[in-house]
Subunit: 221 residues, 2 copies
C-alpha cells in the first residue's frame, strides 16, 4: 500500500513484461532534451496501446465494435471486489466463479498467480468462456485481470467477445499481489485517446470508507 | 458534463493542439493489426510526455529533481476548486489571485480564456512567478491550468521552479470550458511510467457529495 491506496498498475518501463515476450511490444522512451544541453528535460514515449494496465474496447476483438471515443469512465470507477483465485487454477470457469457470490453491478478484479510473477509466462491464468458467460449473466459491470490477456488459446477470442459484446469493459494487466481479497473503491482512468481499440490506464484501489455502500446486492435474474 | 462527471482532459488525436504548434509534438497512432487481415485490431501510439493533459515532475525543469517513479496520486486526487480568471487577464499574478480566498491544502484549477480555444495560441494565459509564490505561500496542494504550459516567456521558468520546488504538482492542458467556478472532487490519474519528467494523465471532476468536506479551511500562516 502506498500512502492511502494500493497502486494496482504495472510500472511502464523498457524492461517490463510484455505479451508473449514480443520485443516489438516493449515501450520506448526517448529523452530528446536534457538539462545539460537545454536546461530542461523533455521526453516522448512509444507505447503499444495494450502495454501494462489497459482497457480493451469492443473494437479490439469485434469488427465495427465501439472504439474509445465515447468510453465513459464511470464503468471502471466505483465500488469493486478483488476475488482470489487459487494458484493451481489456470482456467477460471463458471464452476470456479460460482464459489464466490457475484452481485449485479459489481466490478470484479481477478487476482491469480499472475500477480506474483514479474515476467510474462505462457501458462498465465485466464478467464474461460464459461466464466465470461457466467459473469455477464450475473450482471458484472466491469472485469479486471492480472494477466496481460484475459484469455489464452481460445479460438475466436470468446471471452473478449462475450464481455465486450455485453458492454462489460475488460481491464488487463493489473497488479494485485499486495491486495487482500475484499471490497475496495476502484479508480481506473485511461488516457483519453480518440478512435482506438484500447487505452493505457492507471488504476488504484482505496479502502472503502466506513458506511460506504459496497454495491447493490441484487441479482439480474 | 458526461453522465456524472466533467471530463476535463484533452482528447488525444493527431490533429489536437500542441505546444507552439510544433509538428513533431503531434501524437502518432499506428494501427498495425486490423480486422480484415487479422480478425483483431491492435495499435500503438507515440506521444510526447507533455501531450494534452499531463503532470510535470520536478525533473522537467529542475536538474536532478524528482522524476515520476515515486509520484503519489494522492496529491492530485481529492477536493479541489475551479477558479475563473477573467478573459482579459493573460498574466495571473499575486494580485489577481488575492481576489480569491486560497486555503491551505487546496488543489486549484485555473480556468482562463485558454479553455475556450481548441488550438494553441502564443498569447495563452499563464501563471506569473508572483502568482506561483503566492500559491506556494498559501499552501496549495496542486495547481492545474488549461494552458499547455503554466508559464510563458519567463526567463529561467520561475513559475515551474517555484511550484515544483515546493513539491506542488503542476497539471497542464486541462479543459474547463464547461465547468462553472466552484468546488469539486478531482480524480487525476497519470500513467505509471517510471523515471521520466512528465506523465500523460486523465482528469475528471465529480460534483461534491452532500456534506462532503471541501478542504480544510485553514491558512499556512
Amino acid at each position: 500500500m502506498k500512502g492511502k491506496y494500493y497502486d494496482i498498475s504495472m510500472e511502464i518501463a523498457p524492461d517490463m513484461a510484455v505479451y508473449k515476450n514480443r520485443e516489438e511490444l516493449r515501450p520506448k522512451i526517448n529523452t530528446y532534451l536534457n538539462h545539460s544541453a537545454k536546461g530542461v528535460q523533455q521526453s516522448a514515449a512509444c507505447l503499444d496501446l495494450h502495454t501494462g494496465t489497459h482497457i480493451d474496447m469492443p473494437l479490439h476483438i469485434i469488427a465495427n465494435g465501439a472504439d474509445s471515443t465515447d468510453f465513459g469512465v464511470d464503468s471502471v470507477c466505483g465500488p469493486c471486489r478483488v476475488i482470489e483465485i487459487p494458484d493451481d487454477i489456470e482456467k477460471i470457469t463458471e464452476e470456479v466463479l460460482k464459489t464466490k457470490r457475484i452481485w449485479a453491478g459489481e466490478i470484479l478484479l481477478l487476482k491469480t498467480k499472475n500477480s506474483f510473477s514479474d515476467g510474462f509466462s505462457d501458462d498465465f491464468a485466464y478467464l474461460a468462456a464459461s466464466g465470461a458467460v457466467y459473469l455477464a449473466g450475473e450482471g458484472a459491470r466491469a472485469v479486471g485481470t492480472d494477466g496481460l490477456g484475459i484469455e489464452r488459446a481460445q479460438e475466436g477470442h470468446p471471452t473478449h467477445k462475450i464481455l465486450l459484446g455485453h458492454g462489460i469493459p475488460v481491464i488487463e494487466g493489473l497488479r494485485l499481489a499486495d491486495v487482500p481479497e475484499g471490497d475496495y473503491e476502484l479508480l481506473c482512468l485511461p488516457l483519453r485517446i480518440a478512435g482506438v481499440e484500447a487505452l493505457p490506464a492507471r488504476a488504484v484501489l482505496y479502502p472503502l470508507k466506513e458506511n460506504q455502500p459496497k454495491y447493490k446486492k441484487t441479482t439480474c435474474r
